[in-house]
């Protein structure tokens, strides 16, 4: 009789350790923000230690405090519409135009390469060839063609960001499986209908992966363009600060710049979550 009553663990059961419960790993129980704060504190702490014991020269690495002070200074300049805001706005424009151009060209080429046999056979090899080149090496050419204004930076930024978008789009268009293709064929769908109603939506996750990699590349392209081609953007401010050995300024400018990059990335991710609502999220990867 009693052996049928063991469903609810009694004191005796637990005492004999007969209850087998899944153990929760410590890290799974900790909220993300606490874990992240922990890493942040360790990082800043190490930084503080390294600088306050004079392990490295202040010219190479400023203290966290100096950096923070400079960030406040730069922040005030930005908020009051100072010359730094003007520079930042120039860089943001380069990023926006560059990204828009990369999306337009990258998507079109991606459809050409992913949808047509001609594109796949004749165009793709050249794209792969160009993609393997160190693209920043083209910067002087863009300056020579387009001058020292924002055009040459937009061009380099777009140039770098285009390829991941091409690859993402082309891969996305190949993502539809045999069954879906056959189904559309049985429904008598035209090529255009198959592309728009099936292949493109199926490929959206890959397309967005391309867009995210492109969003990272477009920032790198704009700043590299400014380093190599002058102008009045944020990259120029960094270059000047570095040449004056004003390392706290370099640090704080980079941090502000990374906010711009992060916002762009999050914007793409936010769009992805809304558009590709059926996709399961995977945190921390480009697919997420």
């Amino acid at each position: 009789m009693t052996e049928y009553q063991t469903n609810a663990p009694t004191d005796a059961d637990t005492a004999q350790d007969t209850v087998w419960e899944q153990e929760v790993a410590f890290i799974d129980a900790v909220p993300r923000w606490i874990a992240m704060t922990f890493v942040f504190v360790v990082f800043i702490g190490t930084w503080q230690l390294v600088t306050s014991f004079g392990l490295v020269s202040p010219i190479i690495l400023p203290t966290p405090m100096e950096t923070l002070k400079d960030m406040i200074f730069v922040g005030q300049n930005l908020l009051t519409g100072g010359y730094m805001l003007v520079s930042l706005w120039i860089t943001i424009q380069e990023v926006i135009y560059g990204f828009a151009l990369a999306i337009a060209i990258g998507f079109s080429l991606g459809v050409l390469v992913g949808e047509t046999a001609f594109g796949e056979k004749a165009v793709m090899p050249y794209l792969v060839a160009i993609d393997t080149m160190p693209k920043v090496a083209f910067a002087p050419l863009f300056v020579a063609w387009l001058g020292f204004g924002i055009e040459s930076k937009v061009a380099l930024a777009a140039f770098i960001a285009t390829f991941p978008i091409v690859v993402g789009t082309a891969a996305g268009l190949h993502a539809a499986d045999e069954n879906a293709r056959m189904l559309f064929k049985t429904m008598g769908a035209s090529r255009m209908q198959t592309l728009i109603k099936m292949k493109l939506p199926t490929g959206l996750p890959q397309i967005f992966t391309g867009l995210k990699i492109g969003a990272v590349g477009v920032m790198a392209g704009a700043i590299t363009g400014e380093f190599l081609g002058g102008g009045k953007g944020f990259g120029e401010l960094i270059r000047v600060a570095a040449s004056q050995l004003n390392t706290p300024r370099v640090f704080s400018l980079i941090l502000y710049l990374s906010v711009v990059g992060l916002v762009l990335y999050l914007l793409v991710q936010w769009t992805q979550r809304r558009v590709v609502f059926w996709q399961k999220e995977s945190v921390g990867s480009y697919d997420g």
């Binding site: 559309f184 064929k185 429904m187 008598g188 209908q193 109603k197 939506p201 059926w278």
Partner: protein, 269 residues
């Protein structure tokens, strides 16, 4: 060669011929595999025919030719007095995978064939019918659910509705329930039988399960591989409607044994 042209349909429900295949052969140019050789077959209105045969004997190839998805190398396919020269509206197809699109709700997936053929406005009009179909297959209440939230069996039910929405005269089914567990598979088969009777549809089913073929079919086409051809057409003269408990009758067992014997012989060749 073995051609089963004028098959005797006595015992099976008789109707006018809907599908007529004459001497259909298919050689895949890419690897010069002879997938089908001189297959002749007649399907009559309202009949249920299954094809069974070892893997690679050309069942899917036959189905794709009948559906107008690929052309035969030789031979003729006539459906409702019209030669099949491409996908057609009067053909409904279903595959092993449900293939519902995750960006569309169940009901939107079901009206997709209408949307493709007649546009968005027509698809909207077909919504009522899609709701009815969903109710028939027992998915009432799941109209606006996205496919991610449907189980495998539910997804296949929805894909049955998608096949039926254009009111096809013939249903071509390529192992539609083989991805399901046995219980839901039996249930789906009974449902399929009911739907075929209600719609007076002609069905052609590819399967690997002898039991499934026998319980559903009026005729079973047994195929032999390399090259794919018809070995025999077995008539199942169990009464209709079929029920699952018929599987235990001696007659059922006899037919199953006969077909199993045929298939084993096929392996030796």
């Amino acid at each position: 060669m073995n051609t089963a042209t004028a098959h005797d349909y006595s015992g099976a429900p008789l109707g006018a011929p809907v599908y007529e295949l004459t001497q259909v052969s298919k050689t895949y140019a890419r690897n010069s595999v002879v997938a089908l050789e001189n297959v002749s077959l007649t399907l009559r209105k309202g009949s249920f025919t299954s094809v069974i045969g070892s893997s690679g004997c050309g069942k899917s190839t036959l189905l794709k030719i009948m559906a107008g998805l690929i052309p035969p190398t030789k031979g003729r396919v006539i459906l409702q007095n019209q030669p099949v020269k491409g996908p057609r509206r009067d053909i409904g197809m279903m595959f092993q995978q449900a293939t519902l699109f995750p960006w569309k709700t169940a009901v939107e997936n079901i009206v997709l064939p209408i949307e493709i053929r007649d546009g968005k406005a027509a698809a909207k009009k077909a919504m009522d019918k899609a709701h009815e179909l969903l109710e028939i297959v027992g998915l009432k209440g799941f109209e606006n659910v996205y496919p991610n939230e449907l189980s495998g069996g539910m997804a296949q039910r929805a894909s049955i509705c998608r096949m039926l929405i254009t009111e096809p005269a013939v249903l071509l089914l390529d192992e539609p329930f083989s991805a399901l567990d046995e219980l839901s598979r039996d249930m789906m088969n009974m449902e399929l039988q009911r739907i075929c009777r209600e719609q007076d549809a002609t069905a052609f089913l590819v399967t690997h399960s002898i039991q499934e073929a026998v319980i559903l079919s009026d005729d079973i086409v047994v195929m032999k591989p390399r090259p794919g051809r018809i070995a025999e057409v077995v008539t199942v003269d169990l009464p209709r409607p079929r029920t699952l408990d018929m599987m235990t009758t001696p007659k059922f067992g006899e037919i199953v044994d006969h077909i199993r014997g045929m298939l084993d012989k096929g392996e030796d060749m």
